[in-house]
Symmetry: C2
Subunit: 384 residues, 2 copies
């Protein structure tokens, strides 16, 4: 279909093993054989979330899971503190408002991470905050938020801690139980390297207590139904699930287990470091401060004097490497290199080589090979 | 994974061509190449719906599309007439109630079809009915409702006509424009024989007028966003879609076009007739009256003196043919033979042969071969 190297922050290319598993024919979604696959997949999701709680699979995009996280705990007028530092932080706020909740947005400049103390101050100021939402890895800005530190602050408050790990889970440190996360959501198509179209959610006992005394404002996303079906033996889903995508997730999760979650996260961290080193070697500027730069997607300021169409267009059409652009007010101002899922040294070398050729072609006075060398250097053992 | 012959009313086995298309690797969901696939798939969906209006794809189950049909037109307290003659008719009612609408249920005995005149009477009696919902093919009872005749009655009333064709579209007559249907929803995994996990929806101009002046009570299922993204060039989806399942739907729809929609519907009608003839030849009793018996799933009363576990268990475990049981209060009282998607003479012969062996084994005095012969006879040309 398209031999372009996909270096966007999801969806990512998936391994042949995963495509093969997905191409098995359909079975009855209410059979013992499918129940076993569902059970294993859910268990492996919990292992990746690092929680002893159950995980549930939703047939839908990550956004469906974000909405599920809100509609099952909110009553009209309930106050939610939304950390908003990018498009996905905004989305949580919009979801709260769509359901008649009152959003208290903590605006963080796009490109910066939230300061956990500011969340603490707001929680002291407003005693009636039902939940705090934060996007771990803000895909739109390439910023990682300090969810561990936030968890420490939230531990002293009677509020639900809701974290979107759509573009970080299995690629960066997420310890649901250890960080005290009450509701954690993710998508299939990012660091887990399964195809898009599935989401997963896990809830703490505290979160279930709230869910159980709240009428869900959504029928399709009513988590009480997912729990009832999912806790049966064999487990089921309340509505016909995407059987093929669950085969695919099952296989993608087995690959994660084979690689080892820790190894996989370290591989992502190394790819992020190599990318940042390559960017700097080419004289380009990271969009976020390096300390808060994402482990799974690197946002870079568009060099002066070149348009998004010229830069990304040449990358894609001539060198067959697809990068992502900026979203909303960052459109044209940044580009983003996704390095999540199965990305290794090889794909980064190809990407930086294409970037060097593209920049030279567009008239930039860069030293050919500097970016590629900086990437390769990062992968060398430290004692070489 | 499982060599069982799947004779349930969805999901159905899918053609190797479809599995092959689905196993292509992932592309950027916001690229021209994917936009073309989305455009073609949406156009073919409209062709199958038999409408000149656009169709939109939702990453979710058929239930997500049912909810989308309601949450985008309803305000609190709005009255909806729900035809309820089975589990899926009930579901529409529950969705209306979950969103604060007032359901006016027209209860139809399970196993019977709605009388369009009764809908007419209720519409005369209540002038403020915003929408009427009906499930074309009530999968739970094997009954087909007269959506063409209902359309004629609704034409004289200022109400939206909402039809669930999840288990009928591409297997039975559905003429969205001709019947005056305002909102029509379907799922991927039934007569279209694509894998489960996708849904589609199409709306008339009258329906869009209502949608445009209504705040959607769902964020994920906000149809205004699907329209905005879907009408762009190239079209997109508002949230990351299930890329692989759209590849699969695209291929499944091409198969439908290759076969010809009319031919495909006739093939389903013939399979239904053969199934009913086989059932009667074995001395079993159809659950619905024959005139309203579904074209895609045949519901049969469980013979006296045998349990669901014995009958379907033997069918499944010994003869590897999977039938569906009854749902809710019909559990144990009926079984259902799905004959949708790619089902031909061959699968029905296998099914009836297994049914004959199973029934004999369970002590029934049936004439071996009678069911199989009745099926085969139905497929013979009339002049033989």
């Amino acid at each position: 279909m398209d031999e372009t190297l996909l270096m966007i922050p999801g969806p990512t290319r998936v391994a042949p093993r995963v495509l093969k598993a997905m191409s098995e024919n359909i079975v009855n979604h209410r059979s013992a054989i499918f129940g076993q696959i569902l059970k294993d997949t859910s268990q492996m999701m919990s292992d990746v979330f690092r929680t002893t709680n159950k995980s549930y699979l939703l047939t839908g995009s990550g956004t469906a899971a974000m909405e599920a996280a809100m509609v099952n705990i909110l009553k009209k007028g309930d106050k939610v503190l939304n950390v908003v530092g990018g498009k996905f932080g905004q989305r949580f706020m919009q979801i709260v408002e769509a359901h008649g909740g009152t959003s208290l947005p903590l605006e963080v400049e796009w490109g910066q991470a939230v300061n956990p103390d500011e969340v603490g101050f707001l929680l002291e100021e407003h005693e009636d905050i039902k939940a705090v939402t934060v996007v771990h890895n803000e895909t739109s800005t390439g910023v990682v938020n300090p969810i561990k530190e936030l968890g420490k602050i939230l531990r002293d408050h009677d509020t639900l801690y809701v974290v979107d790990t759509v573009s970080s889970l299995a690629g960066d440190d997420v310890e649901v139980d250890d960080y005290g996360i009450d509701i954690c959501v993710t998508g299939s198509q990012k660091c887990m390297a399964a195809p898009p179209g599935m989401a997963s959610i896990t809830l703490s006992n505290d979160a279930w207590d709230v869910v159980n005394r709240t009428d869900s404002a959504s029928y399709y996303l009513n988590l009480k139904k997912y729990k009832k079906s999912g806790d049966a033996d064999p487990p089921e889903t309340p509505y016909t699930p995407s059987v093929s995508l669950i085969y695919a997730m099952h296989e993608a999760l087995k690959i994660i287990m084979d690689e080892g979650l820790k190894n996989r996260i370290n591989r992502h961290k190394l790819a992020a470091k190599a990318t940042r080193n390559g960017v700097k070697a080419l004289g380009l500027e990271l969009f976020p401060e390096e300390e808060v730069s994402s482990t799974t997607v690197t946002a870079v300021r568009m060099p002066e004097g070149v348009t998004d169409g010229e830069f990304r267009g040449t990358m894609r059409n001539k060198y067959r490497v697809e990068l992502a652009g900026g979203q909303d007010h960052l459109k044209g101002n940044i580009f983003r290199i996704g390095h999540m899922g199965n990305i290794t040294h090889r794909e980064l070398i190809t990407t930086f080589s294409a970037m060097e050729m593209t920049l030279r072609e567009l008239g930039f006075d860069i030293q050919m090979g500097e970016g590629v060398a900086a990437v390769a250097d990062t992968y060398l053992p430290e004692d070489v």
